[in-house]
Amino acid sequence: MSSLLSEDVLSHIGKQSEPRREIVTRRDIRKYAVATDNRQAKYLEGDVAPPLFHLHLFWEVVPLDELSPDGVSIDSLLPKFPLEKAMAGGLDITYHKPIKPGDWLTATRTLTDIYEKAGRSGPLIFYEVLMEVRDDDNKMVVTEKTTRILR
């Protein structure tokens, strides 16, 4: 049915990244709060992390010579897609538990779906990545589903 997506590309569905474990520090929370124009004391003082802080904690720290010329890090979870121009994407996040300084958190990312749709000006490729963030007791802290569109 699919004209663009080869079996090789589709075979990446289900691929999972190496779990990444990071510690939450008060300083990181404060930097994130200031940089996002936050004005609530509990975040600016780093007592608790604002929602979406997990983006800061788990954005991949890539060596400079591994960034592409436009400064983007290449996501090793993804296959080489036949379309490459990224369009708007969406996020669907559930917050299970607040994040505090001293927490050790582990994130796992899974490529959960790749599919094709007809767009107004040609075919579009969609892919979905699920990120699950757990604490050291294996309790879920954040789940985030990202959908990205390529044209």
Binding site: D28, A35, T36, L55, G89, L91
Partner: protein, 137 residues
């Protein structure tokens, strides 16, 4: 939160002026080196944007903040769905806001339709936030 939630009620809006220093600090805090956010010749001449692009997840953060400020200590955000539809550029002033679309007094669950819009009233980042009131009166 000064009054109990009612369906259709708009929460107080918040404006954000998108300036270079904040964009730099935000992208550095993520480790986001994408040139469209700080390299003007690249953003305009290579990618064809009218200016430096405001990072998409930053507008996602502002969707959270406008609800979180309204909640104060009376509740907590439990989830969000949003998408970045139109870009904002350094120099823009954008406005975040929202409207309550559902409220269950027995569970304290509240749902809001939220947005970030630009000065031309275009919705850049629409979304839906769910929250739980912990100090429901």
């Amino acid at each position: 939160m000064s009054t109990a939630p009612t369906i259709g009620m708009a929460i107080p809006e918040r404006q954000h002026y998108c300036n270079e220093v904040q964009q730099m600090l935000y992208n550095a805090s993520l480790w986001n080196g994408h040139r469209i956010h700080f390299d003007m010749p690249y953003a305009t001449e290579v990618e064809g944007y009218p200016g430096l692009v405001v990072a998409g997840p930053l507008m996602g953060d502002w969707l959270h903040q406008v609800v979180d400020e309204w909640l104060g200590d009376a509740g907590i955000i439990t989830g969000i769905e949003y998408s970045n539809r139109i870009a904002a550029y350094v120099g823009d002033t954008v406005t975040a806001g929202g409207t309550i679309t559902a409220y269950d007094e027995s569970t304290g669950q509240v749902t809001l339709e939220v947005f970030v819009k630009n000065e031309r009233d275009e919705i850049l980042t629409p979304g839906v936030v769910t929250a739980r009131l912990t100090l429901a009166s």
